[in-house]
C-alpha cells in the first residue's frame, strides 16, 4: 500500500462505472466542482489501483459486468477499506437500495440525477471520511505513544488513571513514592498529557478502541 501524503484539502473522488460516456460525464461534472477525480471501468480495476491516504469517496455504479457495485462494497468491507460509497443506478429498485444502505452506503442516487444531489452527496461523504480519518490518526498516534511506555510505566499509568495517589501506587507496586513520582513524570511526558484529566481521557480512548477492535 503506497501512501501519498497530500494536504487535507486535496480530497479525491473515485468513480467506478462500466459505461464509457457515463464515466466521462461524471469526471467532467466532479471536476467542475473543483474536486480531483479518478475513474475506473470496473471493480477489479479499482481494487488493483494503489490506495491513497487522503479524504476520499467512491461513486459506484450498481449494475456492472464482473464484480457489481454491491459485491465491490462487500469486498471492500472484507479487506477493511473504509471508504464512503455513493451508489448510482439506472434502476432504483427498493431491495437493492435497502441492501446498499444497510451495508453502510452514504447515498443511493438514481440516474439521471441532479448535479447538486450528486455533488452534495460527494461533499458529505468526503467530510465523513475526513472525520473518520482524523479520529483514526489520533488513535494511531495515541497507541504509538502508549506503546513507547515501559511495562512498569504502563502499570503506573493504569493505577494513576484509576484514581490512586502516588503513595497508594507505591504500596501497590512495592516501591517508594519517589520512584513512582519519576515514573509518573515519564508517563505524562511520553503521553504528552497536559494534566491528569487529559491522561484519563487518553486512557479512555485507548480502552474504548481496544474493546471495540479486540
Amino acid at each position: 500500500m503506497s501512501k501519498k501524503i497530500l494536504p487535507d484539502s486535496s480530497a479525491l473522488v473515485f468513480v467506478v462505472d462500466d459505461d464509457d460516456s457515463v464515466r466521462k460525464s461524471l469526471r467532467n461534472l466532479i471536476r467542475s466542482a473543483h474536486l480531483q477525480v479518478e475513474t475506473f471501468a470496473s471493480a477489479q480495476e479499482f481494487l488493483a489501483a494503489p490506495r491513497v491516504d487522503v479524504p476520499s469517496c467512491l461513486v459506484l455504479d450498481v449494475r456492472m459486468p464482473g464484480l457489481n457495485g454491491l459485491e465491490l462494497q462487500k469486498r471492500l468491507a472484507e479487506i477493511e477499506i473504509d471508504i464512503p460509497i455513493v451508489f448510482i443506478t439506472a434502476h432504483g429498485d427498493v431491495p437493492t437500495s435497502v441492501r446498499a444502505m444497510k451495508a453502510g452506503a452514504a447515498e443511493f442516487l438514481i440516474k439521471p440525477f441532479k448535479d447538486g444531489d450528486l455533488l452534495e452527496a460527494i461533499d458529505q461523504a468526503i467530510e465523513r471520511d475526513r472525520l473518520a480519518r482524523q479520529q483514526k490518526a489520533q488513535l494511531t498516534d495515541l497507541r504509538s505513544r502508549y506503546e513507547s511506555l515501559t511495562p512498569r510505566e504502563r502499570q503506573v499509568m493504569d493505577l494513576v488513571v484509576s484514581g490512586l495517589l502516588n503513595k497508594q501506587i507505591a504500596f501497590e507496586l512495592g516501591t517508594s513514592e519517589v520512584t513512582i513520582k519519576v515514573h509518573r513524570g515519564q508517563v505524562m511526558t511520553k503521553m504528552r498529557a497536559s494534566s491528569l484529566a487529559d491522561l484519563v481521557r487518553m486512557s479512555e480512548k485507548l480502552s474504548m478502541s481496544t474493546t471495540r477492535n479486540p
Binding site: S21, V22, L26, R31, S32, P112, F113, K114
Partner: protein
Amino acid sequence: MSIGIKNRSTYALWPLAAQWLLGIAALTALTVVCFRLQANSTTVALLYLIVIVLISLRISFVPAAFIALIAYVCLDYFFTAPLFTLGLNQTLDFVAPVAYVTTALVITWLMSRVRKSIEKQQLAEEALRRSQAEMAHVTRVMTMAELAASIAHEINQPLSAIVNNGSACLRWLASDPPNVSEASEAAKEIVRDGNRASEIIKRIRALLRKTETRKVALDINQTIQEVVLLIANEAASKRVTVHMDLGPGLPRVLGDRVQLQQVVLNLVLNGVEAITSVSDHPRDLFIRSSEQSEGVLVTVRDTGVGLDHKDVEKIFDAFYTTKSQGLGMGLAISRSILEDHGGQLWAVPNDGPGTTFQFTLLKYE
C-alpha cells in the same frame, strides 16, 4: 353472446319433449303408411325395428325404451290378429317387445359412449389449443417487457451522461472567470452522447424490423373470437361481460394473424382493466365488427374509467401509460401494427362512462 357460456355440444342435449315428439311422429307415420298398405305383421315388425334403431341413435336411454314399447303396442294392436286388441297370442308378441327394448337400450348405450368419447376429445383439443394460445401470449408479453426494460436501460445511460455533461458545462460557464475550454469539452461530450443515443434507437428499429410479417387473407371475426376465448377466464374472474356483435359476411382482410391478435388482445385487455378499476359502472365490454367502404371497422367499447379528451392522442405515445404497472407500449405498438397494415387506430371518449377504441383494416383483394 356472453362469454363463459359456449354453445358446445347442443346436439347431445335435445330437449326431452323434442325427443318424444320425434319418436312418436316417426312411429305414427310408419303405422299409418303400413296400415293403409295392409302390410303383414312380420314386415311391419322389421320396419318398426329400423325406426327404433334410427331413433335410438339420436335420443337418450329412457325415451328410447318407451318408444320401443309403444312400437310393440302398435304392432300388437294394428297388425297382429285379432286386430284392434291387445293380447299375447303369437310368438311375435313375446319376441317383439324384448327385441325392440333390447335394441333401443343397446344402441342408446353405445351412442352415449361414442358421444362421451367425442366430447372428451374435443375438450382435450380445446384445452390444448387454449394452453398453446396462452403460452404464446405469455411469451409475447415477456419478450415485450424484457425488450422495454433493456431499451430503457440502454437509452438511460447516454441520457444521464448528457445531463451530467450539461450540468458540468453550466458550472464551468458560471465559474468566475468562465472556463470556456472546459465548458466546450463538456458540450462536445453532450453531442457525442446524443449521437450515441440515436445510434441505440436505430439499432432497436433494425431489430424490430427483423420480425417479418406474414400477411394473408383472414377473417377478422375469427381473430376476435380467438382472442375473446383466450381472455374468457380473465374477464369472468373480473365479472366483466363481453358482448360480441360481429357483422355477418364481412369481407376478408389482409393481415398478419398473430399481430392482429395482439392488437385485439391489447384493446380487449385494456378495456377489461379499465372496467375493473371502477366499481359503480356496468361491467360490459362491447366488440363490434362491420363492413366499410374500403374494408372492415372494429370497435371495442368499454364502460370503464374513461379518458380525458386531451389524453386521447397521448395514449398512443410510446411509454405513455395511465396504469401503475403498464409499460406504455401496448397502444403504441398496436397503432404501428395497424398503420403497417394500411389501417388506422383511434380512441373516442364515450358519451357515458368509458372509452371506445376503433380500428380499420383494408379489404383483401
